[in-house]
């Protein structure tokens, strides 16, 4: 029987990684976001996100977005009922800052699930009653801290959605213009207003041609290490 041995190099790498995680833990600040909104895609949706500000420069998180369908697609055919849920990993990386203006690179990757009832599937002659898709959404976001309490944000993100089941389809490519506001209610909470809109194309013209969404919500700050960065909102498409 082969006996496994950990080399000194592997141990060093392991403990270095552990130390890095510990240092991140010391410096990191957690944020919990909860928003509710409406869009042309969903009658109503909720978005819950846990984000970690590792430094003034870098933020990583996970969000869950779930809504009651208004106008979405399975196999490039319209569905106007059912549920859509996506799980995403968003990140932000500061690439420039001068005075109160800052530019961030934004990216989000995600997995989306949609489902309708089997009766609806048969009635609409859909390929399946559920679908799975993947997405990625790069973007550039400019944020102004107008004061210690108030920030405004604009920019553009480019959501790309691919249905992978029941059929592979490049479902949508959106140019999403962003307008967000963050207002600090207290040391531990932030009010957020978010809007996004823009043209879309995909699925040989069968899917969304234009999208919009508005939402309102709160951010709860868990820690005080990066109070300036915590003012910075994020789009949640």
């Amino acid at each position: 029987m082969k006996k496994s041995h950990s080399s000194p190099l592997k141990k060093k790498i392991f403990f270095t990684a552990l130390l890095c995680l510990f240092l991140f833990e010391l410096k990191a600040q957690n944020m919990f976001d909860a928003t509710v909104g409406t869009s042309n895609q969903d009658q109503v949706f909720v978005n819950l996100a846990l984000r970690r500000q590792f430094s003034e420069k870098f933020r990583l998180g996970v969000d869950v977005h779930s809504g009651l369908v208004n106008y979405r697609f399975i196999g490039a055919k319209v569905i106007d009922e059912g549920v859509s849920t996506s799980i995403n990993i968003p990140l932000m990386l500061r690439i420039h800052q001068r005075d109160r203006l800052r530019l961030d690179f934004y990216n989000k990757v995600g997995l989306r699930f949609q489902s309708v009832s089997s009766d609806y599937e048969q009635d609409k002659d859909l390929q399946a009653s559920s679908s799975v898709g993947v997405s990625f959404e790069p973007g550039l976001l400019a944020t102004f801290a107008l004061s210690e309490k108030l920030s405004i944000q604009s920019g553009v993100t480019l959501p790309n959605l691919f249905e992978i089941s029941p059929e592979f389809i490049y479902e949508n490519n959106v140019t999403n213009l962003v307008a967000n506001v963050g207002y600090k209610l207290s040391d531990t909470s932030l009010l957020m207003l978010k809007a996004g809109t823009g043209p879309a194309a995909g699925a040989d013209g069968d899917s969304q041609k234009y999208t919009w969404s508005v939402q309102v919500g709160l951010r709860f700050l868990l820690g005080k290490n990066h109070p300036e960065a915590s003012l910075i909102t994020e789009p949640s498409f």
Binding site: H96, L103, L146, G198, P199, A201, G205, Y210
Partner: protein, 228 residues
């Protein structure tokens, strides 16, 4: 696909330069993001379009290089275009159907810029080199196809595959950037002239729908400013 590749290249470009600005502190390199709304003065109607341009500023803000994308999307333009189907062809019993028009323009932007003397008003001359993807599509209840097939299959059959097309475009404009008092935030107005080469579809065989047209834009400009 071309749009997608251009977008990725543009993102890589601006990120590279913005990063180098922070780490190397190269003087005279800045950035901009400019969301816009515009009206397009088309034949017999005015179209609504939204878009954005973004990129880097060079030569102490005297030259902008970046990517642009604006679209006259169907859902924000209620105007329909009655279209006669080919002889003997009917759709839901109709020989003439009302189509909506959809359009997207994208490509590279180069914009020399300068300040009006003795003012803080910036003027630039954006030149857009790129493509349009545009066409006409079944709208409203006509998107519920009689046999539950995909709408695009019906559009391809009804219009012999000529429901939409790509073409090259060139646009020249003049924009004024008006300061807001917040450093790095401006708003402004622009006037643009667009030409489109060899674009043709079943519903508009002349190809003049977007060719030799003016559009007027209003925008917000966010970006770094060279110290003046």
């Amino acid at each position: 696909m071309r749009k997608y590749i251009l977008l990725l290249v543009a993102f890589a470009f601006i990120n590279l330069h913005a990063f180098s600005q922070e780490t190397v502190r190269k003087p005279g390199v800045g950035w901009f993001i400019t969301p816009e709304y515009s009206v397009m003065f088309l034949d017999n109607h005015v179209g609504n379009a939204v878009g954005v341009s973004f990129g880097v500023k060079l030569l102490k803000d005297h030259l902008k290089v970046g990517f642009y994308n604006y679209c006259r999307s169907g859902p924000i333009n209620a105007k329909t275009f009655p279209t006669q189907l080919p002889e003997g062809v009917r759709y839901k019993g109709k020989e003439v159907i009302d189509l909506r028009a959809d359009h997207g323009a994208f490509g590279l932007m180069v914009a020399p810029s300068f300040y009006l003397p003795k003012t803080n008003i910036e003027i630039d001359i954006p030149i857009y080199f790129g493509s349009i993807g545009a066409g006409f599509y079944l709208a409203g209840d006509d998107r519920k196809t009689p046999d539950n097939r995909r709408v695009s299959e019906w559009e391809n059959e009804l219009f012999n595959g000529e429901d939409a097309a790509f073409a090259s475009m060139l646009e020249v404009g003049l924009r004024a950037f008006i300061p807001t008092g917040v450093d790095g935030l401006c708003w402004g107005l622009g006037l643009h002239y667009t030409t489109v080469q060899d674009w043709s579809t079943y519903a508009d065989p002349s190809g003049d729908f977007f060719n030799n047209k003016f559009r007027a834009s209003v925008f917000v400009d966010l970006g770094s400013k060279a110290r003046r």
